[in-house]
């Protein structure tokens, strides 16, 4: 359907930031949008990105990762996005805008979403080289480049953004100071008590905090470069990098220039429908002063304004935007901070209920109204309760349990579950109430958090409500009597985790036994390998012995990886990716002698392709003799622990990442698990080993090791979560031991740690409690299982070669031992072999079954064409 261009009206959006993009998404979802031609004029060179997670750029994410504009979105809606061409003037009478490149565009409706600029106090030297602000991708690049040379950084401003910036500097290895004018950190969000706990925690991390002190000038050296910061109390801090993060100012200059009213503290004045004084012009996000007279510096209110403006333009009825809840939950420098409702107790008759544990770094304060209703609160160090408390505070309903129960640590508190009213807003990013979530489950057939997210969008913003969503979804499903069928397959009505428990408790050691006692039928390709893996995890001998041998997938059955033409590939273990020249030569010689195709893997080892089953033992004999062992590339088990060279060689390294990687790989080699396990160790925060995309990844810090879990690359990438920071070697290893064993014990079949962690009830906090604080009382058992695994480890290939019974399987044909499979054929390509494609006349490689068999090289048998 081609729209009639003459009938189209012109919509011009100024600014493609977070709120601008949200507006586009909301507006294009309306049928009325088809009557509009949309042009977006953007100052930045990038399509909208997630500014809230800007600091993720410091730990390895790329600008692309942060993009908020889905591929194809603009094309699908015919949106003309012009990057790097900001609007310089608005002519309201003529209804046109002019851009920096000189373009002039007509509009029927104009939406301003220009956001804000960082406020830089007008102190001398503020523009010297070495001074930065922190708002855009380019700012991050500049700070990062500056940090390479710098030793000490000062952040001016101890609010949310300032602490984020401090975290980034510290991660870059700089000695970091924070200077805050107010007497406490995060003065807007937290009270004195919370600020004190926050300060202590942040200082524990090595950041020096100076409160009640302002910046009075930037000190520069002869070359004009920053050398320090002068403070209002007369002191001077030596520094070679300064980040100003002292608040923001609305970008309302365009509006001022065309005489649109702006607020006393800046911000284009809009009504509850986001219209400015000129009905053809709307303003949303941080550049607008909302109907309640406030300029919101958070993204959630901006999103609500975006939705409102979209409705206004589509001429849909709606209450409009009259103000928003500014509750926030953040993780700053790894410290959890939340504030909600009225955190300062400004209402008449409001009383505080307070719990403060300076030693444990936990602070909780609730503000209670005279009628017993929860008005607001501050949480530092442990923000678990935020999901329940915030909706309660926003709903303004009296509490159903004594307030003190809500601030006491678990163990003292015996409050039952807190009942939320259905009108309580669970997801403030998308303004979704508990009632709406329940309705999605009940009436729209959503049977999982994922489905609810899709249907209501709850949980797709900051994500802080996901845990609460999970609870409500489960409650509603249970209320509806839905029992999701969790059985493994038609032969077992149990989940993998349940079968694991059955095997562990009963000591059943064979599939037949388990099937006869707890299942039915003959089994299948799903339950057989699963049970084989469980038996192997629980240390039931060699995976090819007895009946176990009959359960394994083809890969495990031949201890090699099946490739598309029926040949196999072979990967010896190269712990930590460290290999001697002799090792390389040995692998090279073996591959050459057998005509195998070689390729480096992503896990820092060498894969050799093209072996027939007959050749596998011959190849492995040579590999074992050369000191190699199975790399378990074929198993659902630990693959590799990738590493960088770390402190030993690298200029930036702060710990010996290679040695740790080797130690970990040798510790966990052969460990059978619900799915493959990948790991990596980086020697510093630059993260060259990409540890945050692994099931468990370790990043060195100057104080120890940070442990990340649940990362994934591949088809569904997931950034790993920080499980614990600055661990010493011993604690690190014990924590990984328990993490792995807990995962093996409770995960579903083929469930990677990333999916498992997202599903795990209680999420990361629960995991932390189990592996660090032994909240389930199973730590000793997990430790013991790991000790058994390590003690019982044997190289599967060496053992196989030593046993004639296990060796019998390695012939292509039972009736013609020694004859390689004639159907496995290859053709040459770039000096090596590749499988012949259908219709191609390929040739087979020679089977090398005896020690004196002629050794033939691929090149000698196959004509090798080099381009």
């Amino acid at each position: 359907m081609t729209p009639d261009h003459r009938a189209l009206r012109d919509l011009v959006l100024v600014g493609h930031g977070m709120v601008g993009q949200r507006f586009l998404a909301a507006f294009t979802a309306q049928p009325a949008a088809r009557g509009w031609r949309i042009t977006v004029l953007a100052e930045e060179p990038w399509p909208a990105y997630d500014r809230v997670h800007l600091s993720a750029l410091f730990d390895g994410r790329t600008a692309e990762d942060l993009s908020l504009c889905p591929p194809g979105f603009l094309a699908e809606h015919g949106i003309d996005l012009r990057l790097g061409d900001p609007v310089t003037a608005i002519d309201r009478a003529g209804r046109t805008v002019t851009t920096r490149s000189g373009a002039e565009l007509r509009y029927d409706a104009l939406v301003l979403a220009t956001g804000s600029v960082p406020f830089v106090p007008p102190v001398p030297g503020k523009d010297a080289p070495g001074c930065h602000v922190y708002r855009t991708i380019e700012d991050v690049d500049a700070i990062r480049a500056g940090a390479e040379e710098a030793r000490t950084g000062v952040v001016v401003g101890g609010g949310l953004l300032g602490l984020e910036a401090a975290g980034a500097l510290r991660a870059g290895g700089l000695t970091t100071h924070v200077v805050e004018f107010a007497p406490r950190l995060m003065a807007v969000q937290v009270d004195d008590g919370g600020g004190a706990v926050l300060r202590r925690k942040i200082e524990d991390l090595g950041v020096t905090v100076h409160t009640s002190a302002g910046a009075s000038g930037v000190v520069t050296g002869e070359d004009g470069q920053v050398t320090g910061l002068a403070l209002s109390d007369g002191r001077e801090l030596a520094a070679d990098l300064v980040v100003f993060s002292a608040g923001v100012r609305a970008r309302d200059q365009l509006a001022r220039d065309c005489d649109l009213p702006v607020g006393a503290h800046g911000g284009v004045v809009v009504d509850e429908h986001c219209r400015t004084a000129d009905p053809a012009v709307l303003a949303i996000g941080e550049c607008a002063q909302a109907a309640d007279g406030r300029v919101y510096g958070l993204v959630a209110p901006g999103y609500q304004m975006a939705e409102t403006a979209a409705r206004t333009l589509a001429e849909l009825p709606g209450e409009g935007f009259t103000g928003a809840d500014t509750s926030t939950r953040l993780k700053l420098l790894g410290v959890d901070v939340a504030s909600f409702g009225d955190p300062h107790g400004t209402a008449e008759g409001a009383l505080d209920v307070l719990y403060s544990d300076s030693r444990g770094g936990v602070y909780r304060k609730l503000v209670i109204g005279p009628d017993g209703a929860l008005l607001g609160g501050v949480l530092v160090g442990d923000t678990d309760a935020y999901g329940t408390l915030r909706p309660l505070a926003v709903a303004g309903k009296p509490l159903t349990v004594p307030a003190e129960q809500l601030v006491l640590p678990a163990g003292f508190a015996n409050a039952g579950p807190v009942a939320l009213p259905d009108g309580a807003v669970l997801c403030s990013c998308h303004n979704v109430t508990q009632g709406a979530v329940r309705a999605a489950v009940r009436d729209q057939g959503c049977d999982s958090v994922a489905a609810v997210r899709k249907c209501t969008r709850a949980g797709t913003g900051c994500g802080s409500c996901v845990k609460m969503l999970g609870t409500v979804v489960t409650e509603e499903l249970e209320a509806a009597g839905v029992s999701t069928d969790k059985g493994l397959c038609e032969h077992f009505a149990h989940t993998r985790a349940e079968l694991y428990e059955i095997v562990r408790v009963t000591g059943i050691d064979s599939f037949s036994d388990l099937l006869d006692r707890h299942g039915s039928g003959e089994g299948c390709e799903v339950c057989k390998p699963t049970v084989a893996s469980i038996l192997a995890s629980l240390g039931n001998g060699h995976i090819l012995d007895g009946e176990q041998g009959a359960l394994q997938d083809s890969n495990d059955h031949f201890l090699a990886n099946l490739q598309r033409n029926g040949s196999y590939s072979v990967v010896p273990r190269v712990p930590g990716g460290e290999i001697t020249p002799e090792g390389l030569i040995a692998i090279g010689e073996i591959a050459r002698d057998h005509g195998l195709y070689t390729k480096l893997t992503g896990g820092q080892r060498i894969d050799m392709f093209g072996a027939t089953v007959d050749e596998l033992p011959v190849i492995w004999r040579k590999l074992v003799d050369a000191g190699f062992e199975s790399g378990h590339a074929y198993g659902k088990s630990l693959r590799t622990v990738k590493s960088c060279v770390g402190e030993t060689w690298c200029r930036y390294g702060v710990q010996d990442s290679t040695t740790l990687a080797i130690e970990l790989e040798l510790r966990y080699r052969g460990l059978r698990s619900p799915h493959k396990l990948k790991s990596a160790v980086s020697g510093c925060a630059r993260e060259c080993a990409e540890a945050q995309s692994k099931d468990f990844g370790i990043i060195a810090t100057s104080a120890g090791w940070n442990l990340y879990v649940g990362g994934n690359g591949g088809m569904t990438p997931r950034h790993a979560d920080l499980l614990a920071a600055d661990l010493d070697r011993e604690t690190l290893i014990r924590t990984i031991d328990r993490f792995l064993m807990f995962y093996i014990r409770t995960a579903d079949r083929l469930e990677r740690t990333s999916v498992w962690l997202e599903r795990l009830e209680g999420g990361l906090d629960h995991l932390r409690a189990v592996v660090l604080d032994d909240s389930l009382g199973i730590a000793a058992e997990l430790d013991d299982l790991m000790a058994r695994h390590i003690g019982g480890y044997q190289d599967e290939w060496a053992e196989t070669l030593a046993d004639p019974d296990r060796m019998r399987r390695f012939s292509s044909f039972v009736n013609a031992p020694g004859t390689p499979d004639p159907a496995v054929t290859f053709v040459p390509e770039r000096g090596q072999i590749r499988p012949a494609r259908p219709g191609e006349a390929g040739r087979s490689l020679t089977a090398l079954t005896g020690p004196n068999a002629p050794v033939l090289i691929a090149g000698a048998r196959l004509e090798v064409l080099t381009p």
Binding site: C524, S554, F813, V814, A816, P838
Partner: protein
């Protein structure tokens, strides 16, 4: 086509009387291809015939023998002998090790997909198989 040995033998009975040659019939004659000891219950082995055809031979936990084409119609590779036996409902099945399609061992039909990627029906040829007392050691 029926599988000729299905109703006949039980592993233990057969071992007791010392008859344990596995034979398959290629349409012309019986070939002794291996002994029962060569097969592990639940798994298979490949057999190469003189005309280069490949057959996958299996024995299940109860001792029943099966023989089907070794060629997997979905991958075009000779790999079915490396698949896993199992059951769906009361039908005995074989799962391909390549892309995991499941075949019904009573009629050779694929239970997951009716046609192979090249458009041909995804049905495995069932080869007659039996245990017999011949003492021949192999096909050749």
């Amino acid at each position: 086509m029926t599988v000729q040995t299905r109703d006949v033998h039980d592993v233990r009975d057969v071992r007791d009387v010392g008859i344990h040659d596995v034979q398959i019939h290629d349409g012309t004659r019986w070939h002794a291809v291996c002994t029962l000891d060569d097969l592990q219950p639940g798994r298979g082995r490949a057999v190469l015939l003189e005309d280069a055809r490949q057959v996958a031979v299996f024995v299940d936990r109860a001792g029943t023998l099966y023989a089907v084409d070794n060629l997997d119609p979905f991958s075009g590779a000779q790999v079915l002998s490396r698949g896993l036996l199992g059951s769906r409902g009361d039908r005995p099945t074989l799962a391909s090790p390549m892309y995991k399609q499941v075949f019904d061992l009573t009629d050779g039909r694929c239970l997951d997909d009716e046609t192979a990627p090249d458009g041909s029906p995804a049905v495995l040829k069932i080869w007659p198989v039996r245990l017999a007392g011949s003492v021949a050691g192999g096909a050749k």
